[in-house]
Symmetry: D2
Subunit: 347 residues, 4 copies
């Protein structure tokens, strides 16, 4: 059994991690910390866990955390980087669900997250935990930067096209829609039901923290610099991300004659958590609600040179807690699907 | 492995049954029938099942069904009663999720369901599948009438009071609220998002088919006739039933001094799927979303003689498919919780 | 034109008041105050008001407010009572949408609102602004206590029965369901979309501030003390209250033979904002969304002695801002329906 | 007073038209037809109209309709074109809210609507009722083709850029999101709450009927042929369209130095129903809920050459019934804003 600790478990990523780990056959959940809620039984805050999780929140204690095999950080950005070096030194493997180790460029990180990075020396070592790209490195890592929700949906959707060099990399568009749980479980007027229900809006068009993260991943795939317009939107539902991705096929026979459906199916043939739908499908976010799956469909409307890729995930699962468990499975040598075979809840 | 067939799997009860059975460790799902959708892969209709259920819908074939150990009927009312006698004769155990075998009184059935009953001779044999009341009988049954959703929430909420004779049985009130999935997956204007979202209403106040079913169960508990006012409401969400139950304590020392909290905790102490919350709690329907759990809380506002019981279930799980699997587990001698340990999805 | 000021306009009651007053033919909106948002154009906070309201929030200034004919307080409980005496002295008429002047009993007020009352001497003078009961007094009042949302729906639903002495006043039940806007526009985890959507729950069963307010109104109708069980619930929608009311007919010929439908129709025959639906109807909250209407239906299931009254309002309109404008119309001698003829938005 | 008739008033466009016309100061509503509901009081189907509309549905009667000044068709596609010629001949002005007269090319119409056109001779005369483009022609028209909902949001968003020749017209993208009321009020599984709530999906990516309609309008603006990728999505709410529009600035000084904000503000300076928000804003669909307004914001993320335009409308108002009333006002010589000054309902 893998001994697991969670730092900061009072948000939606935290409760989802608990839901998955409590049912994981190879995990022993030994502690979950929250400075503000120390002493409170976890199931008092999240009654869905009654009968499944008996732990109470505890004050974060480095010595206790050091006895874990794996520690997940489900904390706000900027917290994990304070504690990670000591844990790594103690031999603990760390998976950070926040953004502290996602960007390789220290200055870019500081710019987007509004603070200097506390341990830039670890940025090189940290492995970006998108297993469909970095599986081998993940299996040997000490420190995983778990990808953001939008970056997961967008990269899985665009990578096959970029890896094959079929599209104009200077003019990529990611029009993304997210459920409100992406805003987290903090008291904020902007996330009230009365501000978000029966409403649809874009936000952060001028610049969003996931933009450099997505670009970093796409740049690596093309070994260059992509031009990316990224527009996130808030849609009135709890969970789910729908990425609608636009790319222009290059004006070459290779590109215009490519069998895109076959390309995607081959790229993801052995991936347990990426499902390429039949050509012309319209994936629904609810088809992955609660599941660690990304479903993708490819379109080329009217046979023109604009390719439209539709990519859906559950932002709390494949976009956060599920992907974190997937990374844990890989780095602990467990079957990659252990504890992740839950079926999406429809309706 | 129990060989299982499903008759009529295109509704919400059907897809939920598939979700649960596909993940059940002791079940082999061998066929699912739908006359109208025969030939269609189940996962084409319900993409959440892609990768989990490989079956296609098939035309209902009595001979094929007769090779199953257990057959579930997830059909409209009045369908199961046509086919059940032959299946029982063939040695198949049957669990009907519709209402065909719920009422013991043939005339009452005919009155509420608007047709004569096709096999009244089975009404006595059929066991009402509320395991918290009829576990022993279920374990030996050939034919289970799976309880309705409202009746499950209301009976579990009221039974402890009635069994102990603490309340006025002539003046029970069940004010119940249901998510829209209770209306089923049929094309009907009344269940459109645009008719039900941002809207709350009562319906069927003059009479609802679950009223005689609830009364039958409560009557059995008091060995008499209860007076019950039952008002169902539609609430704008997918899943969940919240029953708010009102009863008047009898004017006796036994009643007014009773420790109701202890009474409920003892009544359900060994029940794996009934969770009595601490005194004064407010159970949320989302705390059981996707789970086979009924959560109950007891209130006695201002210490007066009106007891208020709050009882929540997921109408598609403990109120339908989950309870059906629980019944299957019992009658097949499997652990009662097999395949039913899923944790509710929050948020 | 009536010169109107609003104190505290940043909540949902405030924006609704602005929506109604901006379109009111006899109102000149002269100021709206908010200490925290002073200087911000109102339409920057509420873009639906762009082109309709040009005011910016201003710091509350007693001298400026004293130049208004009418001042509405849309402030948290306990704020209005600090400023009202000076305004009255200056000859301004005041309508308080909060609870400061709703209860006549100073001690009861202090107990439920957790603070001593700042000007108990005004409690007697303040007129409870339920025009269907107190129209004459409202027309001559200086100070109106605008009723709470639940109390409006419950009192309008129960009053005809109580005024005629037809039911057991010791055993009234009000099972009420409210949209989330009733919780206001403050940053609170409990009102997040992710805590309230796809969820239904009761709250405050042990005691809610609207309980004494409702009782005070019902007590006046019966000239005695009613026994009332009041259970509020939160339903996942923006607006609307649905009160399901239960009363037991007295065991007398007068009561059991009463034509309840006729009784309600007569009681509200000349009321512009109470609509009695045909016997057996199920009023929907959306039928009053945005409108100052209360719709009521009467049921007597199975002809038994339990009467079920269904009463719906928009909590922000007839339950708050609309009723406040109705009160302003009455006390300013305007037509009672001025500015209140908007039709509910369906869907 | 303008005497108005409505043909086919049982859908959401119909009830919205009734809501607007019932409150219109210059309109006398004389008949509303529905073959299937003839005899039913309108307010029985739509209780929000109780007290506001006393009409009952009547069987469509050409002679009676011929006595109207204006007749609105709120019928399915293909119905209006059967009756319009006779009405025009009788001197009635016709506004068709369906698609019968929107496309100028008969063959294109037949291809997208799956039937031959019944009166192609009227296609030239019919005026496309986007008043921001065709006001003068509308004022003299006998027959108005009221624009579709997506086409309204997209054209108003893109026209200023196209009219000035600032962007690459071969590579326009319209990523649009619609509330479910766009699917109409017909019994269909796909529009059930349980199929659309808590779900987000694209649809019709291969081809949607609004694609040729949008192109026709954009082509006219550029006097050429635009390349347009149009992807509609369904978002879980009642009302609202959010169009996110992408265009590439031409590589010229005119284009890259253009003050886009000023351009839009000037283009719409005298338009009563188009509101250009400050640069960098994010319009919310709820800011136009129930209102006849289109709100637009312009973005140029990171100063690159991709322009992002955000355009929101209420699909039932500016995208259907409100725009139809606006057209009626223009062709009847009424003030263009008559009956259309309602403020959006927030929350």
């Amino acid at each position: 059994m893998v001994k697991v600790g969670i730092v900061g478990g009072t948000g939606y990523t935290g409760v989802e991690l608990l839901r998955l780990l409590a049912a994981h056959p190879e995990v022993e959940l030994v502690m979950i910390t929250s400075r503000s809620e120390a002493g409170l039984p976890v199931a008092d805050m999240f009654p869905n866990l009654r009968g499944h999780v008996d732990l109470a929140f505890s004050v974060p204690d480095p010595a206790a955390l050091a006895t874990c095999d794996v520690v997940f950080f489900a904390t706000p950005n900027g917290v994990a980087m304070q504690s990670v070096p000591a844990l790594l030194e103690a031999g603990v493997k760390v998976i950070d669900l926040a953004a502290d180790f996602r960007l390789k460029d220290t200055e870019e990180w500081a710019q987007w997250y509004g603070q200097p990075h506390a341990c830039p020396q670890l940025l090189d070592e940290a492995v970006y935990g998108l297993s469909e790209v970095n599986r081998a490195a993940i299996s040997e890592a000490r420190l995983i930067a778990n990808p953001g929700c939008y970056p997961t949906a967008v990269q899985l959707g665009l990578l096959p096209l970029l890896e094959k060099g079929l599209v104009d990399t200077g003019r990529l568009i990611a029009d993304c829609k997210s459920g409100v749980s992406g805003a987290g479980r903090k008291a904020a007027v902007s996330a009230l039901l009365c501000e978000t229900s029966e409403n649809f809006k874009a936000y952060g068009v001028a610049g969003h923290r996931h933009w450099p993260e997505i670009r970093q991943g796409l740049n690596a795939a093309v070994e260059g610099n992509v031009g990316l317009t990224f527009v996130p939107h808030l849609t009135p539902m709890l969970r789910g991300i729908h990425a609608t991705l636009y790319a222009t096929l290059l004006n070459s026979d290779d590109a215009t004659d490519a069998d895109l459906q076959a390309l995607y199916e081959q790229r993801y043939a052995s991936e347990p958590f990426v499902d390429v739908l039949p050509m012309g499908s319209h994936p629904e976010t609810r088809s992955v609600k609660g599941a660690n799956t990304c479903r993708i469909a490819i379109h080329r409307p009217q046979g023109a040179d604009t390719v439209v890729i539709l990519s859906v995930i559950d932002n709390l699962v494949k976009g956060a807690a599920g992907q974190a468990v997937q990374n844990m499975n890989i780095l602990c040598g467990l079957p990659e699907t252990a504890g992740l075979s839950g079926i999406a809840l429809v309706p």
